[in-house]
Amino acid sequence: MKYLQSKWIVASILVPFLSASLASCGGGNSSASNEQTTDESSNSNKLAIEKPQLTFGFIKLTDMAPLAIAKEMGFFEDEGLYVTIEAQSNWKNVLDRVIDGQLDGSHMLAGQPIAAGAGFGRQAELVTPFSMDLNGNGITVSNEVWSAMEPNIPKDADGRPQHPIKADALAPVIQDYKTSGRPFKMGMVFPVSTHNYEIRYWLAAAGINPGFYTADNSQGQVDADVLLSVTPPPQMPATLEAGTIYGYCVGEPWNQQAVFKGIGVPVTTNYDIWKNNPEKVFVMSKKFVDENPNTAIAVTKALIRAGKWLDTPGNRPEAVGILSRPEYVGADSVVIANSMTGTFEFEKGDKRSMPDFNVFFRHHATYPYYSDGIWFLTQMRRWGQIPESKSEEWYHETIKDIYRPDIWEKAAEMLLAERNLDAEDIPETDGYKPATDEFIDGTMYDGKDPIQYINSFKIGNKD
């Protein structure tokens, strides 16, 4: 009898427990469905938003700023969008969650949607309607390597090292390491990240082979003089300090952190490697954009406004304050301010002005240029991530599926009509930037002729 009684007590305890957890299982799908709606009530000028409740992802880096600003300044809500912004653990996770539809869109490395479309790594149809920023990376070497490099670098009038520093100064150091039997190891953040292509470009420009990818070697270390490996950005300084790698290419604040902690010296920024290179992009899946075309335009509108706000003089300190909140980048505001207010510290005390180190809007930074995307494809081919030779048409067709300036243009035209954008903010372009030689080695790049560009490199696969 006693037992029977207690059974009821247990049942009465367990049942609410059970139902609570069942409810929570079902509760997960409470986010909005994507049925078609017309939301014309509040503002006749507004787009009919198919899916007003959205979740976007980001990685804790300062260049996620347009997302944070669009949310905090109310630009998303102005478009009738209710957006949750969620920090993600790593770039692979970001890609998987956008492809699987758990995220409606995300801050991504420019190379990620392109690699997914070109067939390197996980394949998927992704769309880039908005480019988030230009520049913002640096290459840092350890103190030991720096002291070996320094005698090879010419000095300017003030006795400071003359910039840009080329990898020619590093070549003899690598040779010394090789002869003493130590392989020279450096870190980058992801196989298709801008950082990987930038550090490779910088090394190869000085005749140093950073290694090739082949169909059966996805490490990218075939024939390498320098062994490049993947390290997550926040772990870079610690890995350098531990001596596992001798240098790395990473975004901010991890180069300034090395100076701050006194464990390494940034030698160059990607602004010197390729002036005004594209860095992060905003990515949605093609499926999402096809099903919710108006939502995609509205998101792009809010992001363009955020970019413009970020590059409006006087707004950066406020942006730093927002980014330092724990739900965004979360680092102390002094650290974030260091890389976002127009200067860059190389050696301790060698602080130089770099007004274009972090560009969010100027130079039409938000426009998704085909030529920028094709540059990534050429580098993927150059280093063997695309193992076979492709025709010139393939480059243009591939990028036109991924980069969608048409969405950007629609958004920009609406912003122009709403007087949130000026006419000169919209570039007159066919999607290709004019040919440029503003690279560290002065090689001419014309996005319209990718094959010729690939063949112009001394080190690299040729077609």
Binding site: K7, V10, S24, N29
Partner: protein, 363 residues
């Protein structure tokens, strides 16, 4: 009255307060006074000693790093820079603060700031609800889901998510492990044949379980509206935690007193009756020991799993604060550590209470 209070307290897992009640009733003051000291005051004292040692340790670490910074400034930039660094550290400016083990005081401050943050977010949620009330009314007319809060979850929300995950994982473990444990406990042949498999799977790391679950769930659930990270973390927690229950149940079932089984044979009880009337009640103590271990393992592996599955609970809180690396991040991580510990302790107490209700009580 007194006996009733004591009985209730015992069942609530507050048995350590028993001497206090007896003292109030004026019963054997000496013996109960001693019991109170031993049962309640000494544990409290040990916590105080722990906090003191922690405080001393944190102060020593702080001083060591501060000195190292000043020394480094001196060797690299000279005495002037060293003095500036010393001033900067003394002034409490965050740009030069030593970043080491936070002191109890800092942790307490972080706890208060997290609590304030929670209140703040609660306000924001209310504001948000008011703001979207009209839109939601319209959406309701059109038969659409309402717009839900888009801001970040507060610390308390994250604790809630973690508790839900553990509850779901625990139930899964219960539903899988107890029946299987009974079945293999009833038969020596089955127990022997599954023994190796169980021993091999038991020590597998939570991270590996998570990846396995991820592979399967990813294929099975294609609807993006489902909260996959929650499902994945709950299943992984369940799979990691169920082994103790499985092993204990099969042990409990197989070691039921032969006399009971013989009684069942004499009474010619059916299989169902035999299991529910004889075997289960007899093996409850061991099953519950297993379940208690399961709850504590579930809570323990939760953090690692949430961290990797991106489920918005305490695990991702800890990971995000680690990534933030702000001046109060370390203190917040330690707040989370204590909250996790205290909740784990409470869960164990709850299980103990349930166990006492379910099993035959010793007189």
């Amino acid at each position: 009255m007194k006996d009733k209070t004591i009985h209730t307290m015992r069942t609530l897992g507050l048995g350590f307060l028993e001497p206090l009640v007896r003292l109030f009733a004026g019963e054997e003051p000496k013996k109960n006074g001693l019991a109170l000291v031993r049962g309640t005051l000494l544990p409290l004292l040990s916590i105080l000693v722990f906090i003191l040692v922690w405080h001393l340790g944190a102060t020593a670490l702080y001083n060591k790093e501060a000195e190292a910074r000043i020394e480094k400034a001196r060797t690299e930039q000279g005495d002037e820079a060293a003095a500036a660094m010393a001033d900067c550290i003394a002034s409490g400016d965050i740009s030069c603060q030593p970043n080491t083990l936070p002191s109890p005081k800092q942790v307490y401050a972080a706890y208060i700031s997290l609590w304030k943050d929670h209140l703040n977010i609660t306000d924001k949620k209310r504001e948000f609800r008011e703001k979207v009330a009209d839109t939601n009314a319209e959406r309701a007319e059109q038969g659409l889901d309402p717009i839900t809060y888009t801001g970040r979850p507060s610390f308390v929300d994250q604790i809630g998510t973690s508790l839900k995950t553990v509850a779901a994982g625990f139930l899964l473990a219960l539903v899988i492990a107890v029946p299987i444990g009974i079945i293999i406990g009833l038969s020596d042949v089955l127990r022997n044949s599954f023994n190796w498999l169980i021993q091999i799977l038991k020590p597998v790391s939570p991270v590996v379980w998570l990846l396995l679950v991820f592979m399967v769930v990813k294929t099975l659930i294609t609807d993006p509206q489902m909260d996959k990270s929650f499902i994945i973390s709950a299943i992984s927690v369940g799979l990691c935690a169920m082994w103790a229950t499985l092993v204990n149940t099969s042990l409990g079932v197989s070691s039921v007193d032969k006399d009971y089984i013989n009684v069942a044979k004499v009474l010619k009880l059916g299989v169902g009756k035999k299991i529910f009337k004889i075997i289960l009640p007899a093996s409850f103590p061991l099953i519950f020991t297993g379940l208690r271990i399961t709850v504590s393992v579930a809570w323990m592996v939760l953090i690692a799993i949430e961290l990797l599955a991106q489920s918005p609970g305490l695990g991702s809180f800890v990971w995000e604060e680690f990534q933030n690396g702000a001046s109060d991040s370390n203190a917040k991580i330690i707040v989370a550590m204590f909250i996790i510990g205290i909740i784990g302790f409470l869960l164990d107490r709850i299980m103990l209470t349930v166990q006492q209700l379910m099993t035959f009580q010793k007189a």
